[in-house]
Amino acid sequence: VDIDDFIVSALGDDGSEGASPMPSGEAAALAPELERIREGLTWDATWDEAPEAADAVVAAIQAEQHQSTAPASAAGASTPAVGRARRAWRMPALGAAAAAAVVVLVLLVAGGRTTSQVTVDLAGTERAAGASGEAELADADGGWRVDLRHELPAAPADAFYEAWVEGPSGYTSIGTFRGGEAVVLWSGVDLRVQQVLVITLEPDDGDPAVSTAAMLRGTIDLDP
């Protein structure tokens, strides 16, 4: 039996016209592989439509290119930003225009004064490749409310996450957390003069200084 003919015959048999040729010799050795192909043709995965996500991928790449061309911070220069892909719960059909707008500035007029609100996309670093997050910064009550949503796993027992803003005077901590997808943080420093929001994994060693274990980072783009 010619192996190729056997494959064609076995795959093409629809069960209505008699059995496939009996495999023999070398062809018989192929039977398990033929079964793999047959089985593969019955899977949903073989026939499911791929997502219409080409534009979303383009947008994510452009957003990352945009971020990589932004001025590098001293601490961030050795930590390339990664992890731009966003979760479906946040934006199921990520459009090019929506994703390209890495930072959206919204000016709100409330109670006779102008407040600022900005959304910062957070990208996973090499330590958290594939992770991402988003922070909404809002000028409120003499400070800034930071609503953080992230995909980081729960911190190990001997560590915690710490959120920092980096500006001309260095890093300022705006809060710590261990887990949870949604975290509310508060910043007393004016985020208009800060350039980067960074989430680090800090060892629980009592040292208040920022560690080098950056997990997420994103550029703050608020008008001064």
Partner: protein
């Protein structure tokens, strides 16, 4: 677009090249993700992440070589990462419910149950995607819908002889594309 040119432009983030690479391989990536992750939205996320991560790594790939094995490797790794992430979340949720929170970093996580079939899913899907629409339809009805040639002919309202000739042609192409599975070490 030639593959070498395509990969060089993809590396630069050229939108047309990104879309073309996506068009060629999204089906295969989707198949790997679907076989590895039970959740469809998670699989869709894996598809996006795979292409973004491929772009990040594109400067380390030889553009003169077939990108399929490279993309498969990335797709598989992304699927594993997403599976582990969801596994951690499930375990964490369970632990919190149980009042015995433990460190996620110390947890051993399992691999996707169908990962051993990811290579077959990738290969079969890419081979199917290379078929013409009429051939695809017949192969799908024959294997996925389990119809006989006569039932396919009735459904498509074409002579059964046409179904047979298309089926033969389609399976001949599948055999040419997939006959090498016997030599692959992945499965």
């Amino acid at each position: 677009m030639e593959t070498e040119v395509l990969l060089e432009r993809f590396r630069e983030g050229d939108p047309d090249a990104v879309r073309e690479l996506f068009r060629r391989y999204a089906g295969g990536v989707q198949a790997v993700a679907n076989r590895s992750l039970s959740d469809r939205s998670l699989a869709d996320e894996a598809v996006q992440q795979t292409f973004v991560q491929a772009w990040r790594a594109a400067d380390r790939v030889d553009p003169t070589r077939d990108p399929a094995p490279w993309l498969y490797t990335i797709a598989r790794r992304v699927a594993i990462d997403l599976y582990r992430r969801e596994d951690r979340r499930r375990a964490e949720s369970y632990d919190h419910d149980d009042g015995t929170a433990r460190a996620a970093g110390a947890r051993l996580v399992s691999l996707p149950p169908s990962l051993d079939q990811a290579w077959d899913a990738w290969q079969v899907r890419l081979a199917v995607d290379e078929l013409g629409d009429d051939e695809q339809a017949i192969v799908r009805m024959q294997h996925f819908d389990e119809l006989t040639h006569q039932e396919i002919a009735d459904r498509l309202q074409i002579p059964v002889g046409t179904v047979k000739s298309r089926s033969y042609r389609a399976h001949r192409r599948l055999a040419a594309a997939l006959g090498h599975l016997a030599d692959d070490g992945e499965g």
